[in-house]
């Protein structure tokens, strides 16, 4: 029986430490992982907890991330609670198996520390890996600080394992800006955290030899479409469970999470869509903008998948101009948040003026002042009643100004 870990009411943890304690408290049966910067400390801390007697489960060392996710698939299909962690290139190497995990409806939890994808090689934070897994059939939750990295990881198990969902979930935190930034975190004690998540309920476990099961069957044109449609349906219907889990978490902790987070949006003329640690930096920028008389606000999908398109459109219905800020190289298009939000508005007959900004690639610093400048540009569109700024701009990019129309 694992020993209880004595925690203070307030700890000073970075995002990695927060995520590893959440994994420990979930009493995961199998963690299979291949450490990679900047998520290495999640795996390292977890192995330390195991060695010190705080974890009962198995820790499987593997030779690559492809193997890590493959071992997770095997252990989850066998009937255990399973988790792992990765970043960037490791995430990329897992991609094939991410689709296997979701297709087999395995409720694996993966704590992702977001990092840029090579080339050129870069260890710092951006959302290139998150966007890579966008269509992999996983639920993707976003954490903006170490407290949220802890909270989202606890919630992830409860969402993934719900009988109506049974889908894998990633929790995402920005590399270094959250993963290596120590802040005050208020953890739950071990018993309360475990009770919130609950015992693992295996569904169709392969180790139940009296009820043989097939995982990962071949389906050609007669059934493949139905499988994928039912998987998509589970994702599309998961918001009800996510809301339920967030409500229960609020009752327990007083910390309220929403699938769509907003800041000072109610009377806003201008809104920014932004996800991750920059959402909090943008809160500082919004306060400055309001001191200068600009009615600015923020909106963020807490669940990037399933994407809360109708909720976002509803909350933006009185906003005149919207700038979507994407922390990933868009490579020949507008950024994903721009596209998703534009689609959401169009689907609801709304016509806020939309622009796109790319920021923070490879860890490039994005300050409140940079974001304030974006708010001011967006306000020009709101005032003119049409787009007078460039369609796609770049924040804090060195060299001559780059933009696209």
């Amino acid at each position: 029986m694992a020993e209880r870990y004595e925690l203070k009411q307030k700890e000073v943890w970075d995002g990695n430490m927060a995520a590893s304690h959440a994994l420990r408290q979930a009493q995961v049966d199998v963690v299979a992982a291949y450490p990679i910067t900047p998520s290495t400390p999640i795996v390292q801390n977890y192995a330390q907890f195991l060695a010190d007697g705080y974890v009962d489960g198995e820790f499987v060392m593997v030779e690559s991330e492809h193997s890590a996710m493959s071992a997770c698939v095997g252990a989850s299909a066998a009937g255990g609670r399973v988790a792992t962690a990765t970043s960037s290139q490791g995430y990329a190497l897992m991609v094939e198996v991410l689709y296997q995990a979701s297709g087999m409806r395995l409720p694996i939890v993966m704590t992702v520390v977001n990092r840029a994808l090579a080339s050129p090689l870069n260890i710092h934070g951006d959302h290139g890996d998150l966007y890579l897994g966008r269509d992999a059939g996983w639920i993707h939750l976003i954490a903006n600080n170490p407290q949220e990295a802890y909270d989202m990881t606890l919630c992830a198990f409860k969402i993934a394992e719900n009988e109506k969902v049974r889908l894998p979930v990633t929790t995402n935190q920005d590399g270094f800006l959250v993963s290596h930034t120590a802040q005050v975190v208020e953890p739950l004690d071990d018993d309360t955290a475990y009770k919130f998540i609950g015992d693992y309920k295996a569904m169709n476990p392969m180790l139940d030899t009296k009820n043989p099961q097939t995982y990962g069957a071949q389906t050609e044109e007669e059934w493949h479409f139905e499988f994928k449609a039912s998987q998509h349906k589970a994702l599309m219907e998961s918001p009800a469970v996510i809301d339920e889990v967030f409500a229960e978490f609020e009752k327990l902790t007083g910390r309220k999470y929403n699938r769509v987070e907003t800041y000072k949006l109610d009377d806003a003329d201008v809104a920014l869509v932004v996800m991750g640690s920059a959402y909090e930096t943008a809160m500082v920028a919004v306060d400055k903008a309001r001191e200068e008389g600009i009615k600015a606000g923020l909106i963020m999908p807490r669940s990037f998948r399933p994407f809360p398109y109708n909720e976002i459109a509803e909350k933006l219905k009185n906003v005149k101009a919207v700038a979507a800020l994407d922390r990933s190289a868009p490579m020949g298009a507008m950024g994903a948040l721009y596209n998703e939000v534009s689609g959401a508005l169009a689907a609801n007959g709304q016509s806020s003026i939309m622009t796109n900004y790319i920021y923070g690639l490879g860890g490039r610093d994005t300050t409140a002042q940079h974001i304030l400048e974006v708010i001011k540009e967006t306000e020009k569109n709101a005032k003119a009643g049409k787009r007078v700024t460039d369609l796609q701009g770049f924040i804090n990019l060195r060299g001559p100004k780059l933009s696209f129309n």
Partner: protein, 185 residues
């Protein structure tokens, strides 16, 4: 918000020092951020670490800051002009050096006119801890200069934070902290 920037070489303990200071201040009810700016560095490469301390939750996740204090824990980095980047006339510098303030200023001209304190944190850590890990003595000097919390309260918290180490290491660190508190000029 109080903002502190550490200049160090990788392996000298600036990250640990910054996190320990954040931990100490969090115990007084403050909100904190402690982080560092990394490359994929080897031991010995120059690096910076940061503390932000405030009465309210700290939302700004940008790395940029105008430090109130600059703590330099490697004696050779004192001579790098980068240590004065983004500082103001009010920024207080506490630097590790075996030199007197006068001798130091005659070479490190970028520090002339700055509010400067000197402590030989390398020598203290070598003599008291047995290794050149100048982070904890720098904290002792910082507490003396900043008066951010009573020294006795600091000692109670830091002893608890160091409690995972062997007794000999804890005692050495506490001696180094107390000596730096007395010797910083």
């Amino acid at each position: 918000m109080l903002q502190i920037r550490w200049h160090s070489r990788a392996g000298q303990g600036a990250v640990t020092g910054a996190k320990a200071l954040a931990d100490v201040m969090a115990r007084t009810g403050k909100y904190v951020q402690a982080y560092s700016v990394y490359g994929a560095e080897k031991r010995g490469a120059p690096m910076t670490a940061y503390d932000k301390i405030d009465d309210n939750p700290i939302l700004d996740h940008s790395k940029w800051m105008t430090p109130d204090y600059v703590l330099v824990i490697d004696p050779s980095l004192v001579f790098q002009e980068e240590i004065v980047d983004n500082t103001t006339d009010d920024t207080v510098f506490i630097v590790t050096s075996h030199m007197s303030k006068e001798d130091l200023l005659s070479i490190a001209k970028h520090l002339q006119g700055k509010k400067l304190y000197v402590i030989d944190a390398i020598k203290i850590s070598q003599e008291e801890i047995g290794r050149a890990i100048p982070n904890t003595p720098m904290l002792g000097a910082f507490i003396k200069v900043s008066e951010i919390i009573p020294f006795e309260d600091f000692l109670v918290s830091i002893e608890d934070i160091l409690s995972k180490f062997p007794k000999k290491i804890i005692e050495g660190n506490l001696r180094a902290i107390k000596r730096a508190y007395e010797e910083v000029k």
